[in-house]
Amino acid sequence: MNVLETFGLGVRYGQTWAVSDCTLAIPEGRIVALAGSNGAGKTTLLHCAVGLTEATCGTVGLLGDLPAGSLDALERIAFVAQDAPLYRHLSVNEMVEVAANLNRRFDRPFASARLRALDIPVKRRVGKLSGGQQAQLALTLALARHPHLLMLDEPLARLDPVARHDVMALVMTMAAEEGVSVVFSSHVVSELERVADYLVLMAQGRLQLVGPIEDILAEHTVLNGPADEAERVGEHLCVVHAEKAARRVQLLVRHDRPIETPIGWEVDAPSLDELVLAYLRDPSLVGRSGPVAVAATAAGELAQ
């Protein structure tokens, strides 16, 4: 079963397309990192999945084939928006009460046990809690619904290192215990590496890379060799990124099967950081439309 599936999804705000031509299928049981620069369309994509934003064209399906925004879908997913939306003037206890009454499925003992474990003062007003505590509270309310799919928009953005660790640890524990699939957006790539096993990379509203991180890493290689051979070697490969130095050149290439090392060249495996940065630097690299497109772009770059 796919937890999230889109086909030809596009969202237009006035004249601009926030998301366009977005087709993906995320399988169950994954921890998905939705990455991209600011304004890449991450939030719009999430909002579409939850049903907060209507698609201009294309389709979105959740957990098999439930339409986004339908009651069936909403019951099985949980979403925590970027700013951890809570009623600031209510006390923590009242906030839990509200959530319990607004949801058909809500595990009250779970929520109160967790708030106790977190040392969150339940009588205090939500607005008086620290940023970390507010994030924990929002996450607790989301998890108390025992969702199949948990979507988090920039969950770590406002948190200190301890709170980050604790929030991620809780999410990972729920993934281990209940098999929750998780999609979370972030623009800090180093944060994702330990946690995510599936990557969706966006730039300017389009998908650049989609797939299991292991596969994506295996499909890319760094080649290091003499600069004057760059064009000859690059000609037969899909060069994602080329970096020239004196006499040497470094090529990040994409390939669907193992490549032969050119004589006199060194090969290395790229890190996820390095890979994502290379794609983010050049939004025109659209991995999905195939190696040919990538090759064409990169060949032009090399010729310059």
Partner: protein, 198 residues
């Protein structure tokens, strides 16, 4: 009941219906951040002697870091046959990493025959590697120091040179042994291959 056993500041969920679900971090205590805690009896039984840690800058994939740490602990005798490995949810909670990564590491160790799962109980160390007793180790060490290392230094090799030479000799030795084993399996064992290693 879960409070007596529990994690205090670490924050982990309790199960539906009141049964203790996760008393995460109980097995490894203060992990990077300080947690105050008391350990109940129930936790103690479920604890593992092993504490994982990760080095994000090492460049070694996370699952391999876990594998190496288990192998290392078995080799040095911190983990012996019958010892429990940390539970999946405990590792996940303490390191905040993907559960699939931990599963991958444990699968890898299982394939190596080092650990095995008992359904409903956990994962346990199966085999202890052949260990060499202390006297033998000391004798071997003495021969290395008094003989080969002295000669190598006298010949003008520095530390890196010695390490490189040893690594390369060891590799040849292992490969020689492997090819010997292969050829004897083929029924072609002969005096010819025995000479290759010496």
């Amino acid at each position: 009941m879960c409070r007596s056993a529990g994690v205090i500041k670490g924050s982990y969920p309790r199960a539906v219906g009141g049964a203790p679900l996760v008393d995460a971090l109980a097995f490894c205590g203060p992990w990077r951040y300080s947690f105050t805690m008391t350990i109940g009896k129930r936790d103690d039984e479920a604890r593992s002697p092993l504490i994982f840690r990760l080095d994000p800058r090492s460049g070694v994939p996370t699952y391999l870091q876990l594998v190496h740490q288990v192998e290392h602990a078995i080799r040095l005798g911190y983990l012996v046959q019958g010892d429990r490995l940390p539970r999946l949810k405990d590792v996940v909670a303490s390191l905040s990493i993907n559960p699939n990564t931990v599963q991958k590491a444990y699968r890898h160790l299982e394939q190596e025959g080092l650990i095995g799962g008992r359904p409903g109980q956990g994962t346990f160390v199966l085999a202890s590697p052949e260990t060499v007793d202390l006297a033998t180790l000391n004798a071997l060490r003495k021969r290395l120091v008094d003989g080969w290392l002295r000669d190598a230094t006298a010949a003008g090799l520095d530390d890196d040179g010695i390490a490189a030479l040893f690594q390369s000799a060891l590799r040849d030795f292992r490969e020689g042994r492997k090819s010997r084993a292969a050829s004897s399996r083929d029924g072609r064992a002969s005096g010819r291959s025995a000479g290759g290693v010496a």
